[in-house]
Chain length 164, copies 8
């Protein structure tokens, strides 16, 4: 396993699907689990230890509301931990953002964008870390970047075609 | 021990002092510790278990920034857990408030006011819980309430004396 | 009656239903009332006094917007008062959160999560207080906790079953 | 008494002083009291009734944090109630603003600016209400307005004098 | 005319309808107009002068976004001006609230709740001002208050009937 | 006059000084005035008309709190209007930002940064508009930009010199 | 080309359509492109240089989330740059607003309203700049303003017709 | 060079000093530069390319206000980019946080805590990435973690010593 992916609740799977899609495309081995910092703290600990043993290079943790999952994971490992503030609830993720990002000095969480964009960016950030030692993943990242640029180019053509 | 009081950092002791003062006045036995959800997670667990064994009726947990302490404690015990969002940092405690209060359904944290007022209110909330079984504490709460009312009355006189 | 449950408006009953469901399951005797801090202040006072007489161990108060209900209740009793910031209105409950939680030092309100999660957590917090003197409720809390953990475990299996 | 002025705490008197200064200048009879919605609810009720009896035309209520004072007053009288969100505490009055202004439909609070400007504007708003029946107060308001315009004019001259 | 009611845009009429309904029930003569501080500043001035001449006792002004209407009106008259922050736009009225309430010292706006509740409360606040000189309106306010209390009472019965 | 600069209050002159300094350096003729949208609305109108007559190319308006000045100016002219949200008051300028920027469709205000940076950026934005027809101002803008880059370069050297 | 219009994503075209409609009505020559500060930074640079060569008088840039587009454009040109904070994402454009408006001193972005109103106001602001040298555009702006006033007048009639 | 550290302004060096201290202690080779996304975009590009050539494993970028630096860097490289929202300005870093973290899907920035804590956490996050291939850095991280735990332990003793 290269990346362990944890979400606090099954309802976060829309975000999780973004990660799986990218990891599958990039050939990055990963495990995906629901595990709650508050409801199943031991399970979180067990999965983190397992990931360390299997040589994981990063752990992604996504949660909503008072999102403690990424911080709790970061306190249990010295691997890079990536946090996704899952949008939802009455404040639509502002609570999850602040709970994830403003960790006290000493326990870093690499926080990415809120919501679905966060799923994509968490996967790409993990891929950038893995690419430091896997040139094939770097290639994929380059292709992905080119594809994004091409998509912008095509959108640009599309809207201008529509205007004439 | 009737109440375990935990703070995430020594710099939170200004808030902690409010609690100690009230508990001493009310005759409520308590232990006060610095213990961090992220830097010393095992210690947090150990102190919580000890509090349970010694018959504690409540646990107070105060922390700042991405304040996970109260939530982590609430996931390790079935005692009532009171959370204080310690003000400080660039957002002056808004992050601590949201990290403490918006717990997912299933793991309740009884959040009180931000900052120093939160220290006072956490102690009074614990005292209200303890007073359910200790009439002497209820008496103290009544006196405290009367004293507060008297203080308002005196302030009222003071400002009106000053006006004539 | 062990817990008095008050809501400021009939439209808050979606949150109230969470409480009733849990209290019924836990065998906690309770009364549920609509009573407004602003529209029926006397009724609030009457219900609080009645709850005290009948030996209530906690009062839950939920309201939206400039949510004064929990604070007003906390000024009329020395029982533990649990406040639920009901989400809704243009600010979707941010006003209710701040109106409920930031009580001046001296009058504590045990604020729980915003919205539906708050209903669940208010009931569980009350149950934790009641469990201090009722071992059967503590048992129910333990089962509930185990059930929650099992639900996470099953969700975890479900998403991984879906992936193969 | 034409206006009853209430503040929740002696520390709000910096705001209160603005009101007294204006009312003295305008010849508006008023009483100023410290009275807390939470610590001395009965006193609030008593003062409101007294104000009604003495023919008050408006009540001003200022408070900070979870500022319930103005709303509580508005539920006890049918006089126009003016609320001042006193700045202070970790959120610097944002809590007081939302607690004061977003009253549920049915119980209006006339909320003015936060902080010291709020003291001035509460007094002027009360004066505008009183001026509906007292032409001499209307005259004072006109002079005050002219004075303000003159002050702007003078400031304008001052900064331009300084520039040459 | 006793009250002039202004809204910045036709889309605010949902709020306006609340006012008309209450004024019609209370027998308060009023005029309702769309007039924009930015698009028709002269019209605003003209309507304000007309209201003054016809003996209006208050002006209500509702607007959304950077809501300047109430402040602009308050600078053109010495009548009490009531501002309604109309919810809508990407920030759902937070901009309208701050634009309406935080007037610099000297030009007061009596700001009421955001959105539809604001329509109701603006009308009731105006009615409280008018009731200072019209006992029949005070009667209506008393009935309205009783009716509100009764509605709470009935809601209370309804939810408890539903529970057995 | 090429640019009219208005501020709502003498206390905003710290921001105004940034503008004067840049305009003097760029050789842009300007007038600077204190004029309040609420306290001296007629003066605002007069100054705007004068600026139009004298061929001004832009108007800068800075104000704090419920900052209506820039919007009011933009409703009185078809010149480009630049708004500066002056920081200050309990919300430290958030109110001024939202009051200035979120103008309803039809009346544009070119809002720049909050506070002192806003003074600088308002002047540079006006200079960019003027430079469309004055090549000498474009030259000054180019030099200014180069100077800024050089200042970064020097800061870079300074911190690295300090490190050896 | 008189104005270059850039958006970060095809999904922003609802806002873009407002601009095209107004520019077509005003006879302002423009180019509209999708170009991303992060995905196609070179393309942004190329389009900006092209706009400068073709004599553009302003550049409009709209983006959502961490909206860097307008700032990046403003660092590559000395033309006036107008930024539109596109609403969307979990924070509904608050991130885009702050990312666009609070530029450090030295690199001004003329920020207009969030969302669709921002499209309209960006176009009108550009038109005001262009009108400095094109009297025919000034005429159009005058007609547009009159039309807006007329629309308010008609709305006013409509709602009052509906009331009788 | 293993890590390139960029800050947008010399005034951010208080945060930068935290990074240098940790990197020196951990034996991580790094370069520290002032380079602005807006004032010296080419320099940013040059430094990023140089870092890539010299085998850097991560780039840290810190900036305040509309903080575009980290995002701009992330668009120019496929290395992991760590963003620090520097606190300061009227909103005290909320703008910097949202500008840094909410990157559109495709261009990830690993955002850490605001302010000084962010400097520490950025360095530790970079160290965690580097430790994937350097066991000696992993050792340092373990010692650092133990030291942190010891510091908590000592603080705990200190406050309890003080209490007897």
């Amino acid at each position: 396993m290269e990346v362990l992916v944890l979400f606090g609740s099954e309802s976060d799977m829309e975000v999780g699907a973004e990660i799986v899609k990218l990891f599958d495309a990039f050939g990055i081995r990963h495990a995906l689990h629901i595990a709650s910092a508050h409801r199943t703290p031991e399970k979180v600990g067990r999965l983190v230890k397992k990931a360390e043993k299997e040589g994981a290079k990063a752990i992604i943790a996504g949660a909503g509301l008072s999102a403690h999952l990424a911080g709790v994971v970061a306190s249990k490992t010295l691997l890079p931990v990536i946090g996704i503030p899952v949008a939802g609830g009455p404040l639509n993720g502002l609570d999850a953002l602040l709970s994830t990002v403003n960790m006290p000095g000493g326990v870093p969480v690499a926080t990415v964008s809120m919501g679905k964009a966060g799923g994509k960016n968490a996967a790409l950030l993990a891929a950038r870390i893995i690419a430091l030692a896997r040139p094939d993943v770097l290639k994929k990242l380059e292709s992905y970047r080119d594809e994004q640029a091409r998509a912008v180019e095509e959108a640009d053509k599309r809207i201008n075609a529509g205007r004439r």
